[in-house]
């Protein structure tokens, strides 16, 4: 081998594949609901928990979930991060705050943007409500919600909130018929 050759550090090898995917049994009704301006979750009868956004499977029980539950568009911040680096391909201008938001009535947090307050004002337990885009541009997308903004309500203790959610889920749970998958 000629050790004097320059190493080749880069060459182009573009890969393109076309896929014709369809949304699944669980996601299709969710996307239709988004277009109507409704937030559709699923009740898992095995655990009594309301899952949002719904994936069609209850990750705790492995059972299919199909019972729709329309959720409120307000909730509680249970975690957040402020992004200071630009994300390639993203329309978002840093700094911006992404939060895990537990919608009222849900047992699983969803991620969305927080705005209309300084990045230092965001706090765990903060009450927020959705700011929707104008109804004319609604599509089959969570982007119909532009961001969530603080409601000004007092901070919520999320440990207490978790206990309340678990207690409610317990009431909604169907009696166990057998094993997890039986």
């Amino acid at each position: 081998m000629d050790i004097d050759l320059d190493p080749i550090e880069q060459f182009d090898a573009p890969i393109y594949h076309r896929y014709h995917a369809t949304s699944s049994r669980a996601i299709t009704p969710f996307l239709h609901a988004m277009k109507r301006g409704e937030l559709l979750g699923h009740l898992s009868t095995a655990t009594g928990k309301v899952l949002f956004p719904p994936l069609g499977a209850c990750p705790e029980s492995g059972q299919a979930t199909q019972i729709p539950v329309i959720l409120s568009d307000s909730g509680t911040v249970i975690g957040f991060t402020t992004v200071h680096l630009p994300i390639p391909g993203s329309k978002l201008v840093p700094p911006f705050t992404v939060a895990n938001i537990l919608l009222d009535g849900a047992d699983q947090a969803c991620s969305h943007l927080i705005s209309e307050c300084g990045i230092n004002a965001v706090a765990i337990g903060m009450r927020v409500a959705a700011v929707w885009r104008s109804a004319e541009v609604w599509n089959n997308s969570l982007e119909n919600i532009e961001y969530f903004k603080p409601t000004g309500e007092p901070l919520v203790d999320i440990d207490i909130l978790q206990q309340q959610c678990l207690a409610k889920a317990e009431q909604r749970k169907e009696p166990v018929k057998g094993g997890q998958n039986a």
Partner: protein, 353 residues
């Protein structure tokens, strides 16, 4: 060696296109069927292992999403292979041999209809020499088929006869996608798609999932069922570059069989389920494995009747299990392959318990 038994197997229908359900939604009922068959629950399963490839349906980390179908709380010991799920079975078998677990649920899934499978398969090639040429899986199989014809051992008529046999046997397999009575002469009038291969020589694009459960003999489920033991299992790999290999032969299959036979102490099989996604490969494997006419090949119809990419190898174990469980045979050879043109081959010898 620990005695490892297959105790349950379930498969979704092998359809040309599943328009609604995603992989998780396809998996959930099949996992439930397999568990019910063994009268087990997820609590009885020590380990889960899957085989899939995100390129197939174009969804990043789809194998992670699939874990939702398991009911993964409390957390399970879990693993995944970016290979056919037969290799997930091998990993599970090893874990039982190592004494780490005594039961495993293995699953494979593929929704090939979403993308262009032959092109997607070109991405398994090395990035410098082969992948930039986009060699699709059918063209590579065409090279192999042509090499086989050049040896004079077989003709295109022999390829067609493999297809006729597959479709006829598949009539008894309700999950098959292609079955029925077809004539060799009629098949030979079809145009080539990558000579000497015609459309019918190629496995059909298939959407589906399959699930198989194995346990150590000491942990057999209490259900009244007939286990099938894995008496021997081995896999061997050949060079990746097609030009280095003798494509008309399958030396790795021969080697894997010798090792599996030695483990099993079994020399003869009643049936053989071969993962040959292209008809000439059935003939190459028959020769490499020394299968004579006493051995019934692919009683299920084999991959030419339905081919769940990433699970078709596991299905050879599952189909053998079903045949042995029904008492139609006592011993079986299950074969799985991975990589282009039978690069990597696994052989297992199964025996009804």
């Amino acid at each position: 060696m620990r005695e490892v038994a297959i105790v349950a197997y379930a498969q979704s229908p092998q359809v040309r296109q599943e328009k609604v359900l995603n992989e998780v939604e396809m998996l959930m009922p099949v996992i439930e069927t397999a568990l019910t068959e063994a009268a087990m629950t997820m609590e009885d399963i020590d380990f889960v292992c899957s085989g899939s490839c995100d390129y197939i349906a174009g969804g990043a980390f789809s194998f992670v999403g699939a874990v939702d179908a398991l009911g993964a709380t409390p957390s399970k010991m879990e693993s995944h292979v970016e290979m056919d799920a037969a290799w997930a079975l091998y990993e599970s078998w090893l874990k039982i041999q190592a004494g780490e677990i005594s039961s495993a649920l293995i699953y494979g899934f593929g929704k090939s209809s979403v993308g262009d499978l032959p092109d997607v398969m070109s991405q398994q090639c090395d990035p410098y020499y082969l992948a930039p040429l986009w060699p699709d899986s059918i063209s590579m199989a065409g090279l192999q088929a042509s090499a086989l014809l050049a040896t004079g051992r077989y003709t295109e008529r022999d390829f067609a006869e493999v297809v006729v046999d597959s479709r006829r046997k598949a009539k008894a397999n309700p999950a098959a996608q292609l079955s029925g009575d077809v004539e060799v002469d009629a098949l030979l009038t079809a145009p080539y798609i990558a000579s000497p291969l015609r459309r019918h020589d190629c496995c059909p694009i298939t959407d589906g999932v399959s699930v198989l459960i194995i346990t150590d003999k000491s942990a057999l489920p209490k259900a009244k069922m007939k286990p099938v033991y894995i008496r021997g299992i081995d896999h061997r790999m050949e060079a990746h570059q097609l030009g280095i290999r003798t494509l008309s032969e399958s030396s790795s299959s021969t080697q894997a069989l010798a090792q599996a036979k030695q483990q099993a102490g079994i020399e003869q099989f009643d049936i053989a389920e071969l993962y040959a996604p292209f008809s000439p490969q059935t003939l190459i494997l028959k020769d490499a494995l020394g299968l004579d006419n006493q051995v019934a090949i692919n009683p299920s119809g084999g991959p030419l009747a339905g081919h769940i990419m990433m699970s078709a190898g596991l299905d050879r174990f599952g189909m053998s299990f079903k045949t042995l469980q029904h008492g139609e045979a006592k011993t079986a050879l299950a074969h799985a392959t991975s990589g282009p043109c039978l690069q990597h081959n696994m052989i297992a010898i199964l025996e009804a318990g």
